[in-house]
């Protein structure tokens, strides 16, 4: 399966290879489409490809690291 997501990195994680580890440790293929990262903050829009189980495990780990994970189209719930 494929899933489009947006990662938002807190300052302390900007220099960590989170996306690399997502690929290596969880067997999720990552394909970055757009990004804006500097010394203090950053976001990356990417597509993930893998089994449903691997993507779920991978995203759970990414969240545990402190990265915010959102749908690429922003919040869907409106007032």
């Amino acid at each position: 399966m494929k899933q489009k997501v947006k990662f938002t990195f807190p300052p302390k994680l900007v220099q960590e290879p989170v996306i690399y580890k997502l690929g290596v440790d969880f067997h999720v293929v990552t394909n970055i489409r757009r990004a804006d990262v500097d010394d203090t903050q950053g976001w990356v829009v990417l597509e993930l490809e893998g089994t449903q189980r691997d993507i779920k495990r991978g995203l759970d780990w990414v969240r545990e690291k402190g990265v915010r994970v959102d749908p690429v189209s922003g919040d869907v719930v409106e007032g």
């Binding site: 938002t8 757009r34 959102d70 189209s73 919040d75 869907v76 007032g79």
Partner: protein
């Protein structure tokens, strides 16, 4: 005749046919509707608009729908009221309120949903869907009922029942999701990917959002074909502010008005103000937040159009203001007691934000100013329940006279 020609990515400018999609397949940027403005210019005039229906459909040439019937509950063409009493209190001589409380389901969401429902039917969908904590749910359910379409409305399981009634009455399937705000978002994105439904603010979003342009058109027309000096707009996803600006500028580009010198001012509740924060920090990247405010209709922590709203502020030399929850309530009271309009919490944000702008001198005394009031107060009565203070009396004239005297009214 339909003048929309394509969808275009706002980031990489790749174009796509007019189909149900919202994200560019290449860069995952958001898509927007493209029009043949040269053809529109030949067709449209002030006179042709003025001859149209007293609804958003008087601007049909500038909306992304094909020929044929529309799903119409009479959304739009709401009153633009001169607010002399409120203006006097704030030191503003030329203040107007765009009162969208009086739409068919009592909020501006009817504007976007009438467009979304029409395009959904034209694209062959039989189901409308949305995820909402209030206004959008009511608008989707009502328009689906009118269109004879099925409707699915997703809500957080802990949403107060009274807020669900305004949607449930129209007969949709109400899906109560047991999880956090983020969980509801995640599920609804997955549902939109997996079912052939018209999810109004997901796969139909580029069309849906265009309905908000009518709030720009109407104000210009109702002011006698001129753009205001200032517009105060509440920001949730940021779409409304960008579309009001787009609407006014389309009128200028089509030669219907000569100029747009409007300063666009965004207001957000402090408990959910990621776009205001980005503006204050001087960055264009909006950091998502967890909403914590009584202004639920503005509680979007990860706003899809935050970046584009910031761009509009730059282009228009606008400002960004956040107000606290107590100020939201003060704003609701102030509007009700000066102008006789009972509006929901988003309007409390607007009115308190407007007061700050007036006090700071950002808006001049004689400037032509329009504040957008986007939803009806009956939807968020709980936040102003404390305003109910009664005089208990016995059913006798003597008792009533006593109460009058006791309260200094004699």
């Amino acid at each position: 005749m339909a003048f929309a020609t394509a969808l275009r990515c706002r980031e990489c400018s790749r174009e796509y046919p007019l189909e149900p999609m919202n994200i560019c397949e290449w860069c995952f940027g958001p898509c927007e509707v493209v029009y043949d403005y040269e053809a529109i210019r030949k067709q449209i005039s002030r006179k042709s608009i003025e001859a149209g229906p007293l609804t958003v459909w008087r601007y049909r040439d500038l909306l992304p729908v094909g020929d044929g019937p529309v799903v119409d509950l009479h959304a739009g063409y709401t009153p633009l009221l001169k607010a002399d009493n409120l203006g006097r209190m704030l030191g503003l001589d030329n203040l107007y309120l765009k009162n969208d409380c009086v739409n068919p389901t009592y909020s501006f969401k009817d504007r976007v949903v009438t467009v979304a429902a029409t395009i959904a039917r034209q694209m062959g969908f039989d189901t409308l869907a949305c995820a909402s904590t209030g206004n959008l749910a009511g608008a989707v359910a009502a328009h689906a009922a009118k269109a004879g379409m099925k409707a699915y409305v997703f809500i957080p399981a802990d949403l107060e029942k009274v807020k669900v009634v305004g949607a449930a009455i129209y007969g949709p399937t109400v899906v109560a999701v047991n999880g956090s705000y983020d969980d509801v978002n995640r599920l609804c994105s997955e549902v939109a990917d997996n079912y052939r439904w018209a999810f109004v603010n997901v796969n139909i979003r580029p069309y849906y959002a265009e309905g908000s342009k009518t709030l720009g058109y109407e104000v210009v027309e109702q002011l006698g074909w001129r753009a205001p000096d200032h517009a105060i707009v509440p920001v949730a996803s940021g779409s409304l502010l960008t579309k009001v600006w787009k609407g006014m500028n389309e009128f200028k580009d089509l030669g219907l008005i000569s100029e747009v010198k409007t300063r666009m001012h965004m207001v957000q509740p402090l408990g959910c103000s990621p776009v205001v924060t980005a503006h204050a920090e001087g960055v264009m990247s909006v950091k998502p937040v967890k909403p914590n405010t009584i202004a639920k209709s503005l509680a979007i922590g990860n706003p899809a159009d935050g970046y584009y709203a910031l761009k509009v502020l730059k282009e228009s030399h606008g400002t960004a203001t956040a107000v606290t929850d107590p100020e939201v309530i003060e704003g609701i009271h102030l509007l009700a007691r000066t102008e006789g309009i009972f509006a929901e919490t988003a309007a409390g944000v607007v009115i308190s934000g407007l007061r700050k702008l007036a006090q700071s001198g950002a808006i001049g005394k004689h400037d032509l100013t329009v504040a957008y009031i986007t939803g009806n107060g009956l939807k968020t009565q709980e936040v102003v329940e404390d305003s109910v203070k009664t005089w208990p009396v016995q059913p006798t004239l003597a008792s009533f006279r006593h109460a009058l005297a006791a309260h200094g009214h004699a």
